[in-house]
Symmetry: C2
Subunit: 454 residues, 2 copies
C-alpha cells in the first residue's frame, strides 16, 4: 500500500512523552494554584460563530484568524480566551455570581508567520475576575500576587512583575495637552531602549509628532523616573494636583503596591515601571507585564490588566474586570530552550515496572493492584522478551523501580524490588515494597517543573 | 453601540460553573486512573494536514469532517484520537519505547446533524497500548479491567463490559463458507433485538443474502448462545476443530476472560456477548462495548478492541495494539439527564469565602494565605456591599464555609468561621479554623462524581 508521509503542521507543538509529562506538571500546578485562589475552571468551545467572535476584532486579528464555513455557518477558531469569556459572561449573566472568578487553560489559534518559537496553536492560561458594575481595587493587587505565587510554585525565581497604571499615563499626557497624541507618543517612547534618548527626542519634536521642546523634555523626564517602588511613587507625587485622572491613577497605583506587599510579594519581584503600557486599548487602569530577569530578550511571559467593559460588544451591562494571561506553550518552549526544565522531575509513565518471570501472572497482577491502591503508578510488562531487553525498556522509560516476580519470590510471597538509579535490589514483602517506593518517590513527585541554571 | 447577540454554537457543550466542576472532577479521575496503569499523557494538535488525517478515512467521516484552507494549506480538525495516535507513533517511532502506552483526553470534531444529545465538539478519553511487531494478549484483558476500575472510581455501578472476539465471529462464518458475506450477515443479525428472530431468518434466506436454511439455522443458534461466561465458553468449545481462526479466537477469548478475573473484575461486570462485533473493520481480535445496565437505550458508553495494524497508512512497521475510548461529553450529558451526577460533590469555586469587616485587609489576607498553604481554596470578598448581599453571594456560590474578620476577631487574633450548611458559627484561631475546614472537606472532596439513583 502507498504510504502517506506522517507529519505535524509547522507551528503546532507536539511533545515527546517525557516533555509532555513536564508540560502536564506545569499545567497541573497552574490549575492547582488558580483553584487555591477561588477561581472556577471554565471550558468554552474552540469554534465560535464568526460574527460573535469577531464582534470587536479587526486588523491583525482578522488576518491571523482561522475562519471557514461548514454548511451555512461562518465559523472561527478562538484566538484568545478573553473574547470567549466576554461572550460567556454576557450569555450566562443571569446564572453567574459576581464577582465571577474563572480560570481557563486552553488552546487558541493564530495563523502567524511560521518561525522558530512562534506557535499557531498554543495554550493560554488565563485568570480573570469580573465585577457587575463595580470591582474593588484589591483584585488588581491579588492578580499579580497569584502570578508571583504560581511562578514560585513552578520553580521560577528570576522573574519580575512590572506594574503600571494607564490612568497615570493618560493623565500625564493630558497634563501636557497631548491626549490625542498619547498613543503615538507612547509608541515612540517604546523605542527608547533601541534607539536612545536623543533619537526619541528628535522623533517627538519632528514633523510627525510635532511636540514642543518643553513637552519633549517633560516626557523624557517622566519616563526616566526609576528607582525602588517607593522612590518612583514619591517622584510621581510631585505631579499630583495637575490632572484628576493622573491623581486617580496614582492613588490606584499606590494602593496596588501597598496590597502587593500584604499579599506576600517581595519587593524585588514587582516594580512600578512607567514604560509598561500594554498595546490593547481596552485596558483602563492597572497593567502588568512579567519578565524573566535573566532573559529580557524573551519579552513578557505573563501580561494583563484592568478593563472597564469586558463585554460591551454583547451587552449593555457594565462588566469591569482584571485579568492576566500566561502564554503557556511559548513559556514552555523558552524554558526548554534555556535548559530550565527540571530534569529531576519523574517523567516516566510508571513508577514501577513489574516483570513477571513465570507463566502464571496472578501474583504480578496482585502486586500491581496493591501498588495502584497506594497511588503508585504500576505497569505490567508481559511481552515475551529476553531479560536484557526488558531491562533496556525499563531504562529507556526511565522508571525509578523495577519489580521481579520469579518462582523464588512467589514461593516466599515476596517481590524483588530494584532501584534503577542505584542498582540496589532487595527482596521485600509487597507492603514493604510499596512503602519503599512511596518514600523514594516523594521528592521526585513534588519536584518543581522549572529549575533555573545558577 | 449596536450589540452582537452572544450565543454558543449548537452541538457545542458549554457548561455553567458548577457543572463544569463536575466535568473536571470526572476528567481528573480519568487522568489519575489511567496514570496508575502506566499510561503516559499525550496531547496532539487539533488541526492536522488533511492529507495526513484523511489518509485512511472515507464515507461518513469525510462528510462530517471540519475541513478548510488557510493560505495554501488544506487543513482538518481531528475527528477522533486514534488517527492522530497512528500519525504520532509512525512519526516518532524511533523515539518511543514499545509497548507504548498512552492516554489522551481531548476534543474531537464531527459535523453531525444537530440534535439533542449529539455533539459536534466533544471529548474523547482514550487509552491504547501499541506493540512493535507483537503485543501480548494480557493487554486485551487489562484494558477492560482499567475501564472497570475507572468507572467504579467515578461512582458508576450499574454497567457491564461486553467482550467478544472478531476471530470467533469470522472463524464461525468461515466454517459456514460465508466469509465474503460475513459483514452483511452481521449487519442483519444486529437487527435481532428490533425485528425479532423470524424476520432475521427471512432476511438471511431472502434474495439479497441468499443463505441456505441450514446456514440460517446455524447462525441463529450461534447468536442465541447466552449464559454466564463459563457457559458461553463451553458452548463455543463445541465448535472447536472446525476452523483454525475460530479456535484461535476462542483461545484468546478464554484467556481474556481468565485474566479479567485475575485483574479483579467481578463476573457480573463483564460478559462474553457474541452479538458484539464493532463496525470498524480495523478491529481484528478482542472487541468491547460497555453498557449502562439500567439504560441500554443509551448504547455503548465505552468501546474499543484489538487491532493488528495501527499505522498502516503511514508506515510499513507492523504496530498491533489494543485500545478503548470513552465518549466523555456524551457520557456526561447522559449522566446529567439521568440525574446521576452526585450533588454531594463540592462544586463551589472556593472552600472558604473570607469576609473582611474592617478597612485594613492585612489580617484577612494573612488568613487567606494560611488557608491556601494548607491546600484550602480561599476567596477574599472585598466588594463594598451590605452584609446580606455578601451572604447571598456565599449562598449562591455554595461555598461550604464563610469566615468573618471584624474588629473583635482581629483584636483577639481569631476568625469567626461559619459552616454554611449547619449555620453554626465558631470563634477560632486561624490554625484551628484551617483544621476544621480540612476535616469537614475531606468527604465532599473525595466524593465520587456519579451517584446512581437506587
Amino acid at each position: 500500500m502507498a504510504k502517506q508521509k506522517p507529519r505535524t503542521l509547522s507551528g503546532f507543538m507536539e511533545l515527546l512523552p517525557a516533555d509532555q509529562m513536564k508540560f502536564e506538571r506545569m499545567a497541573e500546578l497552574l490549575r492547582r494554584s488558580y483553584s487555591l485562589y477561588g477561581f472556577t475552571p471554565l471550558d468554552t468551545p474552540i469554534i465560535e460563530a464568526s460574527e460573535v467572535l469577531l464582534a470587536k476584532a479587526g486588523g491583525e486579528t482578522e488576518k491571523q484568524i482561522y475562519r471557514f464555513t461548514k454548511g451555512d455557518s461562518d465559523l472561527s477558531l478562538r484566538f484568545d480566551l478573553t473574547v470567549p469569556l466576554a461572550k460567556y459572561v454576557a450569555l450566562h449573566y443571569a446564572e453567574l455570581s459576581f464577582p465571577f472568578r474563572r480560570f481557563q487553560i486552553g488552546k487558541v489559534y493564530r495563523g502567524e508567520r511560521a518561525q522558530r518559537g512562534r506557535f499557531r496553536e498554543f495554550y493560554q492560561a488565563d485568570i480573570d475576575v469580573i465585577g457587575d458594575g463595580k470591582l474593588d481595587i484589591v483584585n488588581e493587587a491579588e492578580i499579580p500576587a497569584i502570578i508571583y505565587h504560581t511562578f514560585t510554585a513552578l520553580g521560577l525565581d528570576n522573574f519580575q512583575i512590572r506594574v503600571n497604571n494607564r490612568k497615570v499615563l493618560n493623565g500625564f499626557y493630558a497634563m501636557l495637552g497631548l491626549t490625542d497624541k498619547a498613543g503615538d507618543v507612547m509608541r515612540t517612547v517604546d523605542k527608547l531602549p533601541k534607539i536612545g534618548r536623543e533619537k526619541v527626542r528628535e522623533l517627538l519634536t519632528g514633523e510627525d509628532a510635532a511636540l514642543t521642546e518643553n513637552q519633549a523634555d517633560e516626557i523624557l523626564q517622566f519616563i526616566s523616573i526609576t528607582g525602588c517602588n517607593k522612590e518612583v511613587l514619591n517622584s510621581l507625587e510631585e505631579y499630583r494636583g495637575r490632572h484628576e485622572l493622573f491623581d486617580q491613577g496614582l492613588d490606584e497605583l499606590s494602593t496596588v503596591v501597598k496590597y502587593l506587599g500584604d499579599f506576600g510579594v517581595p519587593e524585588e519581584k514587582f516594580a512600578v515601571d512607567l514604560t509598561i503600557a500594554r498595546g490593547l486599548d481596552y485596558y483602563t487602569g492597572t497593567v502588568y507585564e512579567t519578565f524573566m530577569t535573566d532573559h529580557p530578550e524573551i519579552g513578557s511571559i505573563c501580561s494583563g490588566g484592568r478593563y472597564d467593559n469586558l463585554a460591551e460588544y454583547y451587552t449593555d451591562k457594565q462588566l469591569p474586570g482584571v485579568g492576566i494571561s500566561i502564554g503557556l506553550t511559548r513559556l514552555f518552549y523558552v524554558l526548554e530552550e534555556q535548559g530550565y526544565l527540571n530534569s529531576a522531575l519523574n517523567t516516566a509513565p510508571a513508577d514501577v515496572l513489574i516483570l513477571p518471570m513465570t507463566g502464571d501472572l496472578s501474583p504480578a497482577i496482585a502486586f500491581a493492584t496493591r501498588l495502584r491502591a497506594a497511588g503508585i503508578r504500576a505497569q505490567l510488562y508481559t511481552e515475551p522478551k529476553k531479560f536484557k531487553q526488558k531491562m533496556a525498556y525499563a531504562d529507556k522509560l526511565g522508571v525509578p523501580f523495577a519489580a521481579f516476580l520469579g518462582e523464588d519470590e512467589i514461593s516466599q510471597g515476596k517481590v524483588s524490588l530494584k532501584d534503577m538509579d542505584s542498582g540496589e535490589q532487595k527482596l521485600l514483602d509487597p507492603d514493604t515494597a510499596a512503602q519503599a517506593v512511596l518514600s523514594a518517590l516523594e521528592e521526585g513527585r513534588n519536584a518543581a517543573p522549572i529549575r533555573e541554571k545558577k
